[in-house]
Amino acid sequence: MDKTQLLVALAGALFVIGLLGVIIRRNILVVLMCMELMLNGVSLSLVAFADRSASLAGAVLVFLIFVVAAAEIAIAIPIVVLLVRHKRSLDIGAYAELKG
C-alpha cells in the first residue's frame, strides 16, 4: 500500500473521530479538544501531500495552521471559561437555548 494513501486514510480517520467526538461527547472541554484533533487530522493530510509533491506549499500551509490553531485556542478557551462561569455547567446540552 502506498505510504501517501495510508497517511491520508489515517488523516481522514482522525478527522472523522474528531467530528464524532464533537457530536457524541457532553463535556465542553472535551468537545474543544476533539476540534483540535480535527485540525490535526487535516494537518496530517497536508503533510502527506507535501511529502509527495515537489513544492513547499503543503508544509507552509501546515505551519500557518499551527499558528491559527494557537490563536484560536487562545480566544476559545477564555470564551468557554466565561460561559461556564455564567451557566455554572460544563454540559453542552445546557447551552441549547433557542426556542426552536
Binding site: D2, K3, Q5, L6, L7, A9, L10, G12, A13, V16, I17, G18, L19, L20, I23, I24, R25, R26, N27, I28, L29, V30, L32, M33, C34, E36, L37, N40, S43, L44, V47, A48, D51, R52, S53, L56, A59, V60, V62, F63, L64, F66, V67, V68, A69, A70, A71, E72, I73, A74, I75, I77, P78, V81, L82, V84, R88, L90, I92, G93
Partner: protein
C-alpha cells in the same frame, strides 16, 4: 523498511489515542490521550523528513495549546452531569453515521489504484522552509502575524470584560 514499520506503528498509536479520546471519561485523561496522538503525529512528520514541521507540532500544539487546555481543565473542575454521563443524546445516530464513514474510508483504501511513487524520504530542511517564507509566502506570514496581534487584543478584551471595576 524500518521506516515504514515505524510509520505504521506511530500511525496505529495515533489512532488509538484518538479512539481513547472518545472513550475516556475524565477530561484530563482525554487531554493526555490527545497529547499522545499529537506526539505520534509529530513522530510521523519527523519520519517523513519534515523536521521543522515536527518540531513546531510539538512546540506549538503540545507545548502551548495542550498546556493551556490542561490549565483550563484543572481550573474548571466541575463534577456536573457531563462528568457522570459521558455521552450526549446523539450517540446512536452519530455512531451510525461514523461507522458508515469509516467503511467509506476503508473501502477507499482497498481500491487498487495505480500509484506513482513520488519523491519521498528526502524531506524538507529548515533552511528551505524559512527561505520559502521570506520569498514566496511572505504575505501569508505577515497576515498570520496580524492574526496573532488580533488574538492578543481579543484576549485582553476578554480579560478586561471580566474585571470592569478594576483598572
Amino acid at each position: 523498511m524500518i521506516e515504514n514499520l515505524l510509520i505504521y506503528f506511530f500511525g496505529a498509536l495515533a489512532l488509538t489515542g484518538a479512539v481513547l479520546m472518545l472513550i475516556l471519561r475524565h477530561p484530563m485523561r482525554v487531554a493526555l490521550a490527545l497529547i499522545l496522538t499529537m506526539l505520534c503525529l509529530g513522530a510521523i512528520y519527523g519520519l517523513l523528513g519534515l523536521h521543522a514541521i515536527a518540531v513546531f507540532q510539538v512546540l506549538i500544539y503540545v507545548g502551548a495549546v495542550m498546556v493551556f487546555m490542561i490549565y483550563v481543565i484543572m481550573l474548571l473542575d466541575l463534577r456536573d452531569p457531563s462528568f457522570r454521563e459521558r455521552y450526549s443524546r446523539w450517540l446512536v445516530p452519530g455512531s451510525a453515521v461514523g461507522v458508515v464513514l469509516f467503511m467509506l474510508i476503508a473501502g477507499a483504501l482497498r481500491r487498487e489504484d495505480a500509484t506513482q511513487a513520488g519523491m519521498s524520504a528526502s524531506g524538507i530542511d529548515v533552511q528551505a522552509f524559512s527561505v520559502a517564507f521570506l520569498a514566496d509566502y511572505w504575505l501569508h506570514f505577515e497576515l498570520v502575524s496580524v492574526l496573532l496581534v488580533a488574538a492578543v487584543v481579543a484576549a485582553l478584551a476578554i480579560i478586561l470584560l471580566k474585571r470592569p471595576d478594576r483598572g
